[in-house]
């Protein structure tokens, strides 16, 4: 984890200190993926955070780019705020399984643009994801890249326990996609793979990640999936954990 990733995580903790809640584990899990996508995006490209509950990652990256103001960021979840627990930026997401289909529409409308859709692994339980997977390969959307945040944990427990996804790459391949594995926290590896080359098929990057990446307690304790009423003491322990 480089200094920038640490700084972005620190900013997420600052926001949570102000709001006292948020999906910190999901945000820490997909932070490098979000970072990488925004690094390669051109003006006409599109990014959809289909796992909308990871939005704190997107908010801090866009804040760093100057798209989201400090005020809006720190008003997170307040009454009347622009930003809340699920995003409504260019596209609103939060109910799982919607983003990939919208991304298909974006990709069909303009094949010169690259479209990136970030899915959660638990999100792949949704049937709509697989409807979309069939559709994208039918249209040979080589300008469409899916990144799956494969931390292997969902709200209740492991993906293995709740709804087995393996063999995940074979499933996507059998749906007509090119599937590739990558360490979802390895910025250099993600940079090498993005944007995807025009290979005639949609690409899925199975990004192996650690839920809550960066802090021992958020990595190990599933109860941090969505935390509310966070105490001063917990904020302090998050900061200490990040700097450990």
């Amino acid at each position: 984890m480089d200094a920038r990733s640490t700084a972005l995580r620190s900013k997420i903790i600052d926001v949570m200190e102000a709001s006292r809640h948020g999906h910190i584990r999901s945000a820490f899990s997909c932070l490098e993926m979000v970072r990488s996508v925004y690094e390669v995006m051109k003006p006409n490209d599109k990014f959809i955070l289909s796992k909308g509950h990871g939005c704190l990652a997107q908010y801090v990256v866009l804040n760093e780019k100057g798209v989201i103001s400090d005020k809006d960021l720190f008003d997170f979840c307040k009454f009347g705020a622009k930003l809340g627990g699920h995003p409504f930026l260019e596209v609103g997401t939060g109910s799982l399984g919607h983003g990939l289909s919208i991304g298909i529409g974006y990709a069909l409308a303009d094949r010169t643009r690259n479209v990136y859709v970030l899915l959660g692994d638990g999100e792949c339980n949704e049937g709509a994801v697989w409807e979309a997977a069939l559709c994208a390969s039918k249209h040979k959307l080589s300008n469409l890249t899916v990144l799956i945040d494969y931390n292997k944990q969902q709200s209740y427990g492991t993906t293995h326990e709740v709804c087995e996804l393996e063999p995940l790459d074979e499933k996507w391949k059998s749906f007509g996609w090119i599937a590739s594995h990558v360490d979802g926290h390895d910025i250099e590896a993600l940079r090498r793979l993005l944007p995807s080359p025009d290979i005639g098929f949609p690409l899925v990057l199975i990004c192996h990640t650690v839920k809550g990446k960066g802090i021992k307690i958020t990595e190990e304790d599933l109860k941090w999936h969505h935390k509310v009423d966070i105490t001063d003491e917990q904020i302090k322990s998050l900061r200490e954990g990040l700097n450990a």
């Binding site: 260019e90 109910s95 919607h98 298909i104």
Partner: protein
Amino acid sequence: MRKTCFNMIYELAKKDKRIVYIGSDVGSGTLQNMKEEMPDQFYMEGIQEQNIIGMATGLALSGKIVYVNTIATFITRRCFEQVLLDVGRHNAKVRLLANGGGLVYSVLGHTHIAVDDIALMRTVPNMTIVAPCDAEEMKCLMPQTVDYPHPMYIRFAGDEPILPFRHVNIPFANIVQFSTRPAKALIITTGATTQLAMVIKNAVIMHIPTIKPLDDKAISIMALSTPKIITVEEHCINGGLGTAVLELLNKQGINKPVHRIGIPDGYCDMYGTREEQLQRYGITTEAIERAIVS
């Protein structure tokens, strides 16, 4: 009416590259001319309503005007969340073409009978609901759907000519017929059921092609000038046109008796023709006449 709608899509799409059609594995040969002549504007997708509605949203957010075609029950129930959160929330220019609104597919049973579609679509903010009554009215409507700034639910009815004139302007109601004698009631109806009211002479008949938003002003004025209001619809009485009229009258403080003719709460659990089902549920000219004098 359906054929008229598709012909209009073809003609409009020839002139406007923004227009896109998405079918969900419907009718072999549908819009074959568009498929051949405008392949970039024609999509025939699988039986995957959720995906298609999301895809339509992405296309619409990219500047396209998207007509999505499938059976009314599937385009409302199966993908309701996509209609609500994707199309509605983004105010996307998606036009939902609903085949078989009402009791049209009665022989196919409860899975295909769409008598809750208006109620469902009324709860979607930004959604406009239109139910033309015949092919000619559809022909008047379609050019207005191109640049209309909100999503639309378009409920198909039959082809038989019903209206004596050709005029649809969203959201204005059409006064089809003034009573030649003192009107005993105001009959408010929509879609194909307008036909049932057309022979009645002692009432004002108001055809409502746009159920949401309602033409508040026209309905209020006419309601104030008649002793009772009768709503007629091929839809459950919960949440449809009758409910919308009741809500409007309540909002306007108009205290008049309202008799709603429609389908009571319960599953449409019988097969048969549309006409047989209309008889079963008392959605008939005779029932309207009885309501006028009761």
